[in-house]
Structure formats: structure tokens, C-alpha cells
């Protein structure tokens, strides 16, 4: 009986080939425009620009492993950004631009709580009321956005504290953007919890066979609530990160965050039918489309060709990954 190493367990052989795809993409773009691609600048900006999506996708990974889905993340992000920004403004007489760390802390708390509230609502409706996740989160997709618009009266909320945007938003730490650090910490914790703890084990078990999990005494309802709560809270955090990054809580422009996150998770080898998946795969799944989009702009691909090329590479990557994995299984 062979024993797996920690590395194997954490990464799963499943992510090897898709990782290879990512590396070769970078290699190709790097070969075409080494001066523009293989620079600290491009690395930094690419990482920063994927941070928010990465945080959303970590939560989505958990949800999809339970064989659920969460379409609401983008709207929850918007809602949390709006509540957070409005609270910070309210605390500072309508404009928090020059507010201090206390305000920022309250803002973070409000963002997290707002996200958690929607996550809790999703979780309760999915787990306790037994409504299909697609319907529940399609509902909160609309409702959270509508609620955000109601609160902000339909327009973007400005007035983000400078200390927030200059620290979390654009600050770096030994050259690593703080936004990236935060996303990396969240991702690492997400990967460890999923791969090594009881919480992660239950997540897999529920997705693999919900009835079996229930029969062995796992509190399936409670666990599902927690998973959606996690996804919602991370969406709230993502909303706060976006606030720091864009210096505004913007209402539109997050309609496709949900599909992007789902695609990243599936691209990373997690099955939509639940039961198996890894956060490391999701990380790769987040970066492949990001690298592609960036690379195509740098290399100068025609704008109308860009979506077509992204689509082709995406499908080809998964196809390659799958056929390699199958071959490995056969061997």
C-alpha cells in the first residue's frame, strides 16, 4: 500500500497538466514579446488584476465541490462594496476620503458582514428549504444587485479612504502588491482547509454522496450553510478589495464575475457534479484566461479575434488536460 506525500495530496495529480498549459502559454507569449511579457511590471499587474477574482473563485470551489453553484458572487461583491463605502462615508460626514484606519476597519467589517448575510441567505434556502442552488443564487444575483442599487440610489459610491486605497489598493510589500498578498493568504488558507481539515473532508463527502453524508451523521444542512456563508463572506471581502483597488464601489461591471469564477473552478479540474476538486486547480483556472487576455493585448491580436482565441485556447487546454489525465490512468 503506497502512501501519498503531502504535496501530492495538496496538489492532486489532476492539476499537473493544466499547470503545464499555463506555463506553456506564458512561454509562448514570452517568446513573442519578451520585452513586454517577462517583466516585473506585467507580472505585478497580472497578479493584482486577478486578485479579486481569485478570492471569489476560492469560495466558488467549495460550493461547486458540494455539487452546488453560486451565481450571486458578483452581485454580492457589488452589494458589499456599496454598504461598506456608504458606511465609511456616513461615519465621516458623507465623505470618507480622508478618514483613518478606524473607518477602514469598520468598512471591512461591514463588507464581510454584508457578504456573509447574503451567503447565509443562500445557504439557508439551499440547505434548509431544499431549493436548487441555481435558482436560489440566480435570485440573489438579481436581489443583491437590486438592493445595492436601492441603497446607492443606482449610482457608484465614491469616497473611499485614501489610507485604504494607498495601502491595500496600490501598496506593495517587498515588491509584492498587498492586494496579491491578501489574495494569496486567502487562497492558501482555502487550499489547506479544503485539503487537510475536517471541514474540507465534509465538503467533499457531501458533494460525493449527500445522502451517505447525512446517514453517517454529518450535519449536511449546517455544513452547506457554512459553505455558502464562506462563499458569501469571501465575496464580501472581494468587494472590499475592489473598493480599495478601484476607489469606488461600482454597481455595473460585475455581471460576469460569476461565470468567470465558475469557469476558473471547472478549468481547474473540479467537476460540476461535485465530490472532487482542489483550490490549487482553481488558481491555475483563474490565471489561464487572465494570461490569455493580457497576452493577446500585448501581442496585438485583433480585438474581434480575442474572444475567439481565448475560447479556443480554453477548450484546447481542458481537452489536453483531460486526455493526458486519461492516458495516465490507463498507464
Amino acid at each position: 500500500m503506497s502512501d501519498r506525500t503531502v504535496k501530492q495530496r495538496l496538489f492532486g495529480a489532476n492539476t499537473l497538466w493544466i499547470g503545464l498549459v499555463l506555463i506553456s502559454l506564458i512561454a509562448v507569449f514570452g517568446a513573442i514579446r519578451p520585452d513586454a511579457v517577462l517583466t516585473t511590471f506585467t507580472l505585478q499587474t497580472t497578479l493584482v488584476e486577478t486578485s479579486v477574482l481569485l478570492v471569489l473563485s476560492v469560495g466558488m470551489t467549495y460550493v461547486i465541490i458540494t455539487s452546488g453553484i453560486d451565481l450571486s458572487v458578483g452581485s454580492v461583491l457589488v452589494f458589499s462594496g456599496v454598504t461598506s463605502a456608504m458606511t465609511m462615508n456616513a461615519l465621516n460626514g458623507g465623505n470618507a476620503t480622508n478618514a483613518g484606519w478606524g473607518t477602514v476597519f469598520v468598512g471591512l467589517l461591514v463588507a464581510l458582514v454584508s457578504g456573509a448575510a447574503w451567503g447565509l441567505l443562500n445557504g439557508v434556502l439551499v440547505a434548509k428549504a431544499g431549493i436548487p442552488p441555481l435558482i436560489v443564487t440566480l435570485g440573489s444575483f438579481g436581489a443583491a444587485l437590486g438592493a445595492g442599487q436601492l441603497l446607492s440610489n443606482g449610482s457608484n459610491v465614491a469616497g473611499v479612504p485614501n489610507v485604504l486605497s494607498s495601502s491595500l489598493g496600490t501598496g506593495t510589500w517587498f515588491g509584492v502588491p498587498n492586494l496579491v498578498l491578501l489574495a494569496a493568504v486567502v487562497t492558501a488558507i482555502g487550499a489547506l482547509v479544503l485539503g487537510t481539515t475536517r471541514f474540507g473532508r465534509y465538503t467533499h463527502a457531501i458533494g460525493s454522496n449527500e445522502e451517505a453524508a447525512r446517514r453517517v451523521g454529518i450535519g449536511v444542512t449546517g455544513h452547506l450553510v457554512k459553505v455558502y456563508l464562506l462563499a458569501g463572506t469571501l465575496a464580501g471581502l472581494a468587494g472590499f478589495m475592489a473598493l480599495a483597488y478601484f476607489r469606488v464601489a461600482s454597481i455595473t461591471g460585475h455581471d460576469t464575475d460569476n461565470l468567470n469564477a465558475i469557469a476558473a473552478v471547472v478549468l481547474g479540474g473540479t467537476s460540476l457534479f461535485g465530490g472532487s476538486g482542489s483550490v490549487v486547480g482553481t488558481v491555475l483556472g483563474v490565471f489561464i484566461p487572465a494570461v490569455l487576455r493580457k497576452g493577446f493585448v500585448i501581442v496585438g491580436v485583433n480585438v474581434y479575434w480575442q474572444p475567439v482565441a481565448v475560447a479556443i485556447v480554453l477548450v484546447a487546454a481542458v481537452w489536453f488536460d483531460q486526455s493526458r489525465r486519461r492516458a495516465r490512468k490507463r498507464r
Binding site: F41, N153, S155, A158, V303
Partner: protein
């Protein structure tokens, strides 16, 4: 024998009522227009209603038009989201005896509306190019256009106007437009990618609010705020603030409140038998940090 057209049947409605159908909900531009609209209509004793689609999209605006039609108001002010696709639904309004006034955008078919009140988006693009050239001065370098989604008529017109005009400035190399799906994060990413590929970037024209916000973020992230001149479109409070703070170097502003007010005047003229002007163009201005305080009336409103 059984042939006919939709809406052949009809009833009469409330001619003392007026409805505004903006292109999209929740944009300061349309909110400011709504403010002008409400103010002017209420002053004349008209009942008002505003029904906006969630997105700038003819498939979402069409059901709103027909839903409004069921209520049979006296006049409808509408910003058609597509210059051809909205012709069918809007013709139904006209056929039902409702006075239609186009605001902001217009149909290709000029026989439907009694009046059109708008500012010219293409001209706005040209103005953006001129402003950018002025800001850059004589320096040579590349310029980029950040557009929303392919096929969005208003922003496409702005981009086209810019593209045509920028050619007149030989020191500026137009590197083309990038689509952003109207998402700020994509706009940021496209700006930094363009910076990587074209380090001599000196100007960016962002065709709407979201692209502008994304572009500002991308430039800030790259540490090039101010070094690369950013010209935005529209003057929502956040954009004005960015202009003041130096995140944006210029804004092309329309005058939505006047559009709304003028639209109401034209509608009332049509309903009450006054003289109706078929085409009215409202002003477009370029706001820069230097002259912004003088042009405060062009700032958009968040709420009335």
C-alpha cells in the same frame, strides 16, 4: 383571412401622464436627465413615471416599452437603446396615439418621434481627441481607446469620432481600441497590457464611466497617473472628483438635465398643439481641471 398586426386593438389612456424610458437604470447621466424631466413635467401639472431597463439593451427595453404602452400615457420620452431594433416597439407607441420624443439617442427611422433632443456622441469623440491632443501638447506617443462592448451604438460612435479626429495629430499614434465588456477590471487589465506593449503611451480615451474607472485604476496601479492623459466621458460626481484629484485629466460632458427638460417641452408642445422642433442638439463640453469650476452646471447628479 386571419392576418393582422400586433396591437390592432386599442383603448384610450391618460393624456396627462408622461413616461421617461432611459437607456439604462442607475447611471448619473440618465438620473440627471430624469431630474430635468421630473422638474419640468411636474411644473406643467403632468403625472410622471420612469421605467428603465437594467442594461443598455434593446431586448430589455422592448418589454418596458410595451408595458408602458399598456398604460397609454400621453407622451413617452425615450432613449432608444438600438437605432433599428427599437423602431418596432416605438412605432407601436406612435400608432397608439402616444407622442414620442427621443432623448439622448435616436432611431434611424425619423418618422416615429415628433422630436429628437440629443447631443452628438460622435462629436463628443472628436472633442475628446482634440482635448487629448491639447493635453499631450507636442509630445509623441501612442493613444488607446477603451470601448465597452462591440455593437454598443453610443460608445461606438464616441470611439469612431475619436478615431477620425485623432488622425489629424501626426504626433499621436493611434494603437486602436480595446473592448472591455464594460467591466472596470478588464479595462484596468487592458490598460496595463497596453502599457507593457507600448511604453510610450501618452493618452487614453475611455468611452464611458466603467472604462474610465478601470483605466484610472490601471494607470494608478502602474504608477502612471497623470503621465498618461486620461480622457473620460460623462461627468458623474465620482468622475468629477477624479478630475479634481488628478486621476483623470479631462471629461467630455453632455447636458442631460437640459435634454430632459427640453424633451418635456417638446412633448407638451406636441400634446397641447404648440410648435414642435424636430431636431434639437444640446451642448457638449470638455472639462479639464483648470476650467471645471466654471462649468459646474454640467456636472451630473446622483439624485435629484
Amino acid at each position: 383571412g386571419g392576418g393582422g398586426q400586433i396591437g390592432d386593438s386599442g383603448t384610450s389612456g391618460n393624456t396627462k401622464k408622461m413616461v421617461l424610458i432611459p437607456g439604462v437604470a442607475a447611471e448619473p447621466f440618465y438620473i440627471s436627465m430624469e431630474c430635468g424631466f421630473r422638474e419640468a413635467a411636474k411644473a406643467k401639472g403632468y403625472e410622471v413615471d420612469v421605467q428603465a431597463p437594467a442594461k443598455f439593451d434593446s431586448t430589455l427595453q422592448t418589454p418596458i416599452v410595451t408595458g408602458v404602452l399598456a398604460n397609454k400615457p400621453g407622451a413617452v420620452l425615450i432613449a432608444p437603446t438600438d437605432d433599428k431594433a427599437m423602431a418596432g416597439p416605438m412605432k407601436q407607441l406612435k400608432d397608439a396615439g402616444i407622442k414620442v420624443v427621443e432623448v439622448d439617442t435616436k432611431l434611424e427611422d425619423t418618422s416615429i418621434a415628433v422630436s429628437t433632443v440629443s447631443s452628438d456622441n460622435e462629436q463628443g469623440g472628436q472633442l475628446a481627441a482634440q482635448t487629448l491632443a491639447k493635453l499631450v501638447g507636442g509630445k509623441a506617443g501612442s493613444v488607446l481607446v477603451l470601448n465597452t462592448k462591440a455593437g454598443t451604438s453610443t460608445t461606438d460612435a464616441r470611439a469612431k469620432g475619436f478615431e477620425d479626429e485623432i488622425k489629424k495629430f501626426p504626433n499621436l499614434k493611434y494603437v486602436g481600441q480595446q473592448y472591455t465588456d464594460n467591466e472596470p477590471d478588464q479595462a484596468a487589465s487592458k490598460v496595463t497590457a497596453t502599457l507593457a506593449a507600448n511604453p510610450d503611451l501618452v493618452g487614453v480615451f475611455a468611452t464611458n464611466l466603467n472604462t474610465g474607472e478601470g483605466a484610472a485604476t490601471g494607470l494608478r496601479n502602474a504608477g502612471r497617473t497623470g503621465a498618461v492623459n486620461l480622457v473620460g466621458f460623462d461627468a458623474s460626481p465620482k468622475q468629477v472628483e477624479d478630475l479634481r484629484a488628478g486621476a483623470v485629466q479631462a471629461l467630455i460632458a453632455q447636458d442631460p438635465a437640459t435634454i430632459g427638460r427640453t424633451g418635456v417641452e417638446q412633448a407638451i408642445a406636441a400634446l397641447e398643439g404648440g410648435t414642435v422642433e424636430r431636431d434639437i442638439e444640446t451642448d457638449l463640453v470638455a472639462l479639464t481641471k483648470a476650467d471645471m469650476d466654471a462649468n459646474e452646471k454640467y456636472f451630473y447628479k446622483q439624485k435629484c
